[in-house]
């Protein structure tokens, strides 16, 4: 596993010497910042209106739920934005090494293919986590000026990380199947789109197939996390999907040898 660490460190450094990581992170923070601003704005307006109404009619001011109105929506929005960002993080993982020939160095060094796969997976995951943790600053604004519940925030980030782990593993797998980074990115994006929105199709097919499709829907599993519910069955879904993708990546890397 020490070799995984060397692969991990090299990969991570290469993210941060090239502009990719910065561009992706900045873009993500900007877009989710805009969403955060809009959500907050409408929340403030709404509470203001409520207060005016309450005064007019001599009623008690109704409690507004910032968790429901801002935080839950923010996490749902962020989970969709990451879909557009993650393929840019994972696209080069293996395809670039194949194209440039550096894979020959890795394959002829005394390290195992698992060590390569694991090192790369965690490097991309680290970039992703750094990206979403940038939004902690937005959420902490809410804690400074109000007192929202902490639990939904924690579960929201946990959900984002688990979903990201699954996406990074899938993106890595697709990157191992091609030498072309663009194809790797588009393939990852397309796969994730299908897994996200397949849930909508569940209403149109029979009940058995519908249940299966619903189970495969990434969105279905994320909603609970955004609500503040940590359900182990959702964790199992994301983690087993990630492990399965890593296993397939390992197989692909092994067989790449056979193809020369």
């Amino acid at each position: 596993m020490r070799n995984s660490y060397h692969i991990y460190m090299r990969e991570l450094r290469s993210y941060f010497v090239s502009p990719i990581a910065y561009v992706v992170i900045a873009l993500f923070l900007a877009i989710s910042g805009i969403f955060f601003y809009l959500l907050l704005q409408s929340f403030i307006q709404m509470s203001f209106r409520m207060m005016m109404q309450a005064q007019q009619f001599q009623m008690q001011v109704p409690a507004m739920n910032i968790n429901q109105m801002v935080i839950r929506s923010l996490f749902l929005n962020m989970s969709i934005i990451t879909l557009f960002m993650l393929p840019m993080i994972t696209m080069k993982l293996f395809s670039e090494e194949k194209r440039s020939g550096t894979i020959e160095l890795l394959f002829t060094s005394p390290i195992t293919n698992w060590e390569i796969v694991i090192g790369k997976f965690f490097a991309a995951l680290t970039v992703y986590i750094a990206m979403i943790l940038g939004t902690v600053s937005y959420v902490s604004v809410l804690f400074i000026y109000g007192n929202p519940e902490l639990m939904p925030v924690i579960s929201g980030y946990l959900g984002l990380i688990l979903m990201g782990a699954m996406t990074v593993a899938i993106g890595g797998l697709i990157s191992a199947l091609t030498e072309n980074q663009i194809i790797a990115a588009v393939g990852c994006f397309g796969t994730m789109m299908i897994l996200w929105f397949v849930g909508f199709a569940s209403g149109f097919v029979g009940p058995e197939l519908g249940a299966i499709i619903k189970y495969l829907s990434v969105m279905e599993h994320f909603t609970d996390f955004a609500k503040g519910v940590i359900d182990s069955s959702h964790m199992v879904f994301y983690l087993s999907f990630a492990f399965f993708s890593l296993f397939l990546t390992y197989q692909a890397v092994e067989s790449a040898k056979w193809r020369g």
């Binding site: 440039s100 020939g101 550096t102 020959e104 160095l105 890795l106 060094s109 005394p110 040898k257 020369g260």
Partner: protein, 313 residues
């Protein structure tokens, strides 16, 4: 050190390497010579455990590449056809990364890093980005990468390709120097490279070995033939006729104009017929101005061996 037995490699239904066997002893520097698509890179990729053979067995430094790849990888340094460099890294951080995945660490890594930078004359660019290096320096960093863990065996795939003449000479000098304490197999299609650096040549064509010998033996006489060149002052038709009649002369060709001409003569090695050639010229009253033994050039042998004649199945 390197023992290849009945090695075959198929890509799909295409046979890139067919039943190749050779042995390389400890400390030898062997040239792996062949035209494009001969199967050199394929063979080297199998030696370095990059990909498995379809058939046959290969052992390197005493370990089988299939049963014991980790032990082989630890003992082999490999410079692939395209140096495996990460352009966004500096030379030093790149070599340190390679050292780490080859199992080095701490003080030893630092020491070996300095040594290899010095040995490949790359110390001056140690903190440069690889992307900004010239082709020659990239090739050297590629060599440094293969050397960092002090491997017993070096596998170099076209180490001088794309370099300018001065750098070619420098890299050859380096290989010769490395040959003193390493077992080296290097591939090339440049013939002078082989005579300049290698103690032995393996010529491969279309996936098969067609010859294997020292560069000297290959050049001086293929299959018991010898070649001499003479310069004669005399009527060329008569000279040609007279020379062809001598017993033991296989082939005569003329070259040049005017009354003084050069003749290339291929003759049997045993018995020595050079005296008979000289006598025939002198007895006819022509002037024998020069006689020298010329040998086939490596180019000619190479072409002779790799252009169909008798090689095709």
């Amino acid at each position: 050190m390197i023992d290849v037995k009945n090695l075959s490699k198929n890509y799909g239904s295409f046979e890139a390497v067919k039943d190749v066997s050779f042995f390389i002893d400890k400390g030898e520097v062997v040239g792996f010579l062949g035209p494009n698509a001969a199967g050199k890179t394929t063979t080297m990729r199998i030696l370095t455990c990059y990909m498995p053979a379809t058939q046959g067995s290969v052992s390197v430094a005493g370990f089988d590449v299939f049963d014991n790849p980790m032990s082989v990888k630890k003992r082999v340094g490999y410079l692939p056809e395209h140096p495996p460099l990460y352009p966004e890294m500096t030379v030093e951080s790149y070599l340190s990364f390679v050292g780490k995945i080859k199992g080095l660490s701490g003080k030893i890594l630092k020491m070996k890093l300095d040594k290899v930078l010095e040995r490949t004359s790359t110390a001056e660019v140690r903190s440069n980005l690889i992307a900004n290096l010239s082709k020659g320096f990239k090739q050297r960093v590629g060599l440094a990468q293969a050397l960092i863990h002090d491997p017993e065996v070096l596998v170099l795939d076209e180490p001088t390709v794309g370099l300018d003449p001065k750098q070619i000479i420098e890299v050859r000098e380096l290989i010769k120097e490395l040959g003193e304490d390493h077992t080296i197999i290097l591939s090339t299609h440049i013939l002078p490279e082989v005579s300049a650096t290698c103690g032995r040549v393996i010529i491969i064509n279309k996936g098969k070995i067609v010859a294997e010998d020292t560069p000297e033996n290959l050049t001086s006489g293929l299959q018991g033939q010898e070649r001499i060149e003479i310069e004669v002052d005399g009527p060329s038709k008569k000279v040609l006729a007279a020379l062809s009649k001598i017993k033991g002369v296989l082939k005569v060709s003329e070259d040049g104009d005017g009354s003084i001409k050069r003749y290339k003569i291929e003759l049997e090695k045993e018995p020595d017929v050079r005296k008979a050639v000289a006598a025939s010229v002198v007895n006819n009253g022509w002037g024998l101005l020069e006689m020298k033994s010329s040998g086939l050039s490596l180019e000619e042998i190479f072409l002779q061996l790799t252009t169909d004649e008798g090689v095709e199945v």
